[in-house]
């Protein structure tokens, strides 16, 4: 059986990446144009990698599911991007960013990858400024920083509340430059439905043209997935509607191991659920926790009156408010990491102190900040977020505290990759949220943008070249070969099978039912009994799906219901693996909270002796259980201890 080789280079941690680059294989400029690369996804990882590989001279084909590469969901990231620049002179360093990220991830990330991430973080900011990204600046003309959860320094660069948008548009502009030059060919409104392997190596993909409905074959010397996470397994999440884990799931079914599927991030500051017709949840940036204070009523009677609409939050006296994060975690206060903040909100609501008409909300209050800084300053910092909130909830957050509740936001788990970001399928690389690598069991705020761009601009253009160096004599691939033929046939059969069901229940209805099972049992708090129940229920639901799902319309031409059905069919398999992974990991770590494993104070209790490893799952066939492989995590540069956000 394949052994997991992380390929971490030798040497002290601070020299590993430098050593790797000094000794890696390169492709000479004249040979680069003989090599084809497929990039799926145009978010920060995919977009940045496609542009950078094109600049180097490779032939790149890039695919996106939307009508333009500028719309990938990276665009929705709000708060900022971390870097160890130490511009504010407040004690930051590459080591400290590395340390905070490993600690924030609850000691379940690979040290060498995280160190490299911290190391290249500064290059990202330089690159983006050179591209014309309009980061926030001070009056002296230099870049401004703010603080984010899980750090004691201000290392977050931002562009108002639209940092993801501006960084993505930077990558999109670099990509547009390469498209104009002809080094990158763009394919929009395409969804990847399978990976084509030849002699065990990834050599192409099958995509569905979402406008014509045709299946297309594309071949290349290597394939890169930058296809994002699988948060939409839960139906309701902050992800975009088309965000799906399908590409990574198809890679899994072709032999790429899937790592830590149960590590899902539940973001503490989202607008609470308001009705069963709701299609998605909206995030309110973590940056709001810089100035907003989180509280619930101290007295249950007050909470109940608020729930019934008999009392307004502004009528609760100061001494009757419980600023529970400041109370429980004095050192970090409202800026504890996301998993800690989410669980604390759930704990208060479960104890009957929640607000809103469902009792499933807490307050995020700007009263003190507005008094201290003035409304203008708060408006300049968060104006667009306040406006977004008001449009959705119909309340003015300058006057009434915002209501927030945790929601599914990001997946730390993903395709297992080695130090080169290569999966267990040779030639298949995975970047950004789609891989599992850098965030362990919990991602810190403003680190997703950092990782996406690090992978895309500064890691993959090197490591893919190392792989491609001995491929220069391999001719361009014809897509007429038997492997392409067979894979396309299998995709077509999957589509035919969906139409053949001709049942009576809509795709969305199944998706919602799956979402309920996931949220109730594989969400913020998990236990053995619930996870076992979830596995049985998902298996049952999957069976029902294949007997009763209704997919109207034609196989050819545009068919949105078919697109959704293909994704939900994958989610119905993926959800089971997530539950299985959560059931197998008998400890609590980061976003994975098993109720059986907690300290007396209700904090996550890790089991380092038995679970300091990456759980990488191998697909063994539709009817067989997935096989677990463990990559041990070795900490040589950071002392592993219980996370403490109570004292500095």
């Amino acid at each position: 059986m394949a052994k997991l080789d992380s390929k971490v280079p030798e040497g002290p941690i601070a020299e590993k990446w430098t050593n790797y680059k000094a000794h890696q294989n390169l492709v000479n400029p004249a040979n680069k144009r003989k090599v084809d690369i497929i990039v799926v996804g145009t978010g920060l990882a995919g977009g940045a990698a496609a542009a950078s590989l094109g600049e180097l001279g490779f032939n790149v084909k890039v695919f996106c599911i939307q009508d333009s590469p500028r719309r990938a969901h990276s665009i929705a990231a709000q708060g900022g991007i971390n870097a160890a620049k130490n511009y504010p002179n407040d004690g930051d360093s590459v080591y400290r960013l590395f340390y905070d990220t490993v600690k924030g991830g609850d000691y379940r990330a690979r040290e060498a990858n995280v160190y490299r991430l911290a190391e290249v973080s500064n290059n990202i900011i330089d690159q983006c400024v050179a591209q014309g990204v309009p980061f926030a600046r001070e009056y002296g003309g230099l870049l401004d920083n703010r603080s984010f959860g899980g750090a004691l320094v201000s290392r977050t660069f931002y562009a108002r509340g639209q940092t993801g948008q501006q960084l993505l548009l930077g990558a999109y502009s670099a990509l547009s430059k390469e498209i104009k030059k002809g080094s990158v060919e763009l394919f929009t409104r395409r969804e990847m439905l399978d990976i084509v392997k030849i002699d065990g190596k990834a050599r192409g993909i099958i995509v569905r043209n979402l406008v014509t409905g045709e299946l297309e074959r594309h071949g290349a010397h290597a394939v890169l997935l930058g296809t994002g996470g699988y948060g939409n397994v839960f139906f309701l999440s902050t992800n975009a509607m088309t965000s799906n884990g399908g590409a990574a799931w198809r890679a899994y079914k072709r032999g790429a191991f899937f790592a830590n599927p149960s590590f899902v991030q539940i973001h503490p500051t989202c607008i609470p659920v308001h009705g069963d017709y709701q299609s998605k949840l909206t995030l309110m940036s973590e940056s709001l926790r810089n100035d907003g204070r989180i509280w619930v009523p101290k007295k249950k009677e007050d909470a109940q009156k608020i729930q019934k609409g008999e009392l307004r939050p502004t009528q609760i006296a100061e001494e009757d408010r419980d600023y529970y994060l400041e109370r429980r975690y004095p050192a970090f206060g409202n800026l504890v990491p996301r998993d800690v903040a989410s669980r604390a909100a759930k704990e208060r609501c479960d104890a009957g102190h929640g607000v809103g008409n469902t009792g499933l909300a807490v307050y995020l209050d700007f009263k003190d900040a507005i008094e201290r800084l003035g409304r203008n300053v708060i408006e300049a910092r968060y104006g667009n977020l306040f406006q977004m909130y008001e449009k959705i909830v119909d309340e003015n957050p300058y006057e009434t505290p915002m209501m927030i509740y945790p929601a599914i936001h990001y997946t730390m788990g993903g395709t297992w990759v080695d130090y080169e970001l290569q999966s267990t399928i040779p030639g298949l690389f995975v970047g950004g949220e789609a891989n599992f690598s850098d965030h362990g069991a919990n991602r810190l705020g403003a680190s997703a943008l950092m990782q996406g761009l690090s992978d895309g601009y500064f890691v993959l253009p090197y490591t893919m070249q190392n792989y491609l160096a001995d491929q220069i004599t391999v001719p361009h691939f014809s897509t007429d070969g038997p492997e392409f033929e067979q894979t396309e046939k299998e995709v077509q059969e999957r589509i035919d099978k969906l139409f053949a069901v001709n049942g009576d229940e809509t795709v969305d209805s199944f998706h919602k039912r799956l979402g309920h099972i996931m949220w109730d049992n594989v969400g913020m708090a998990r236990n053995k009994e619930g996870l076992e129940k979830a596995i049985t229920e998902i298996q049952q639901l999957r069976k029902e799906f294949w007997q009763r799902v209704k997919v109207p319309g034609e196989k050819t031409g545009m068919n949105v219901e078919l697109e959704k059905a293909l994704r939900v069919a994958d989610f119905l398999e993926q959800g089971e693996l997530m539950a299985l992974d959560a059931l197998t990991r008998n400890e609590s770590s980061g976003g994975h909270f098993r109720e059986e494993y907690q300290t007396k104070e209700g904090e996550a209790l890790r089991d380092d002796k038995n679970f300091t490893h990456v759980a990488a799952w191998e697909y063994m066939g539709d009817d067989k259980p997935a096989k677990l492989h463990k990559e041990p995590l070795v900490y040589e540069n950071i002392e592993v201890k219980q996370r403490n956000y109570k004292t500095a």
Partner: protein
């Protein structure tokens, strides 16, 4: 609330389109406009009919994918938002709501309410970037930039490329979109190096693609979900003039 919807249905780019009427009932005023469309589509699918095709993705007003011309106005009857942020509390019980695609020659209909906006990508490809490659760039703080200019550049850069400006304009002009990108770079030292070529190439591309000219009706600014200012068009005209005489 109950609503009567008049929705534009069109099988494909070359097919003849027409309005079709639908009734939706018991819609919560807290639902978003696109959630109301989801409810309609669920009902259509349950009846075995084909759902209405429309573009959408992030559903929080930032990706620029959603469109829809609602009661004669791009993104509907509210200001400074996209269709996905529009909520049903802006409509009255019993109201008739007319829903059309963006209508502009450079944005052909793909199906129903979905249009092809790849012309915008082509304009960006004509010069909407700074020609720097990855790596080898100076430190981010090497060139100080006046805060006022950085803020103005950010105001312009906030454009989400949705195309509402084109849909609102009687000339189907893309000047607000193009000028936002031209302005962002014109205001920053990193963008100045190629300023002349950029504005000439982007304007030329815009003309070739069939977008009309600006006749100062300000309709674009009025419907822009990100409130991109018309002053960007003035800046672009200045940049264009300077490029032509230099």
């Amino acid at each position: 609330m109950d609503l009567k919807l008049k929705i534009w249905r069109q099988q494909g780019p070359d097919a003849q389109g027409k309005f079709v009427e639908y009734l939706v009932q018991n819609i919560s005023s807290d639902a978003s406009f696109l959630e109301m469309m989801d409810i309609l589509n669920e009902e259509l699918v349950a009846k075995g009919e084909e759902p209405v095709a429309f573009d959408h993705d992030c559903r929080e007003g930032i990706c620029g994918m959603c469109s829809l011309y609602i009661n004669g106005r791009p993104h509907g009857p509210d200001t400074a938002i996209t269709t996905c942020q529009l909520h049903m509390r802006k409509f009255k019980d019993g109201e008739t709501v007319v829903i059309e695609p963006w209508r502009a020659k450079p944005f052909p209909v793909i199906k129903d309410l979905m249009v092809d906006r790849s012309a915008f990508d082509e304009i960006i490809q004509a010069g909407g970037y700074v020609s720097v490659n990855t790596g080898g760039v100076p430190d981010a703080n090497a060139i100080p930039i006046k805060k006022e200019n950085a803020d103005l550049a950010m105001d312009a850069a906030a454009c989400i490329g949705c195309g509402a400006c084109v849909a609102a304009c009687k000339n189907a002009s893309a000047m607000l979109f193009v000028s936002a990108k031209v302005s962002q770079f014109a205001l920053l030292p990193q963008g100045r190096v190629e300023a002349n070529n950029r504005v000439e190439n982007m304007v030329a591309k815009m003309d070739v693609l069939g977008f009309g000219n600006c006749t100062n009706t300000y309709a674009c600014e009025a419907v822009c979900p990100k409130e991109i200012s018309i002053t960007n068009i003035a800046r672009m005209n200045r940049e264009f003039f300077v490029a032509k005489i230099s």
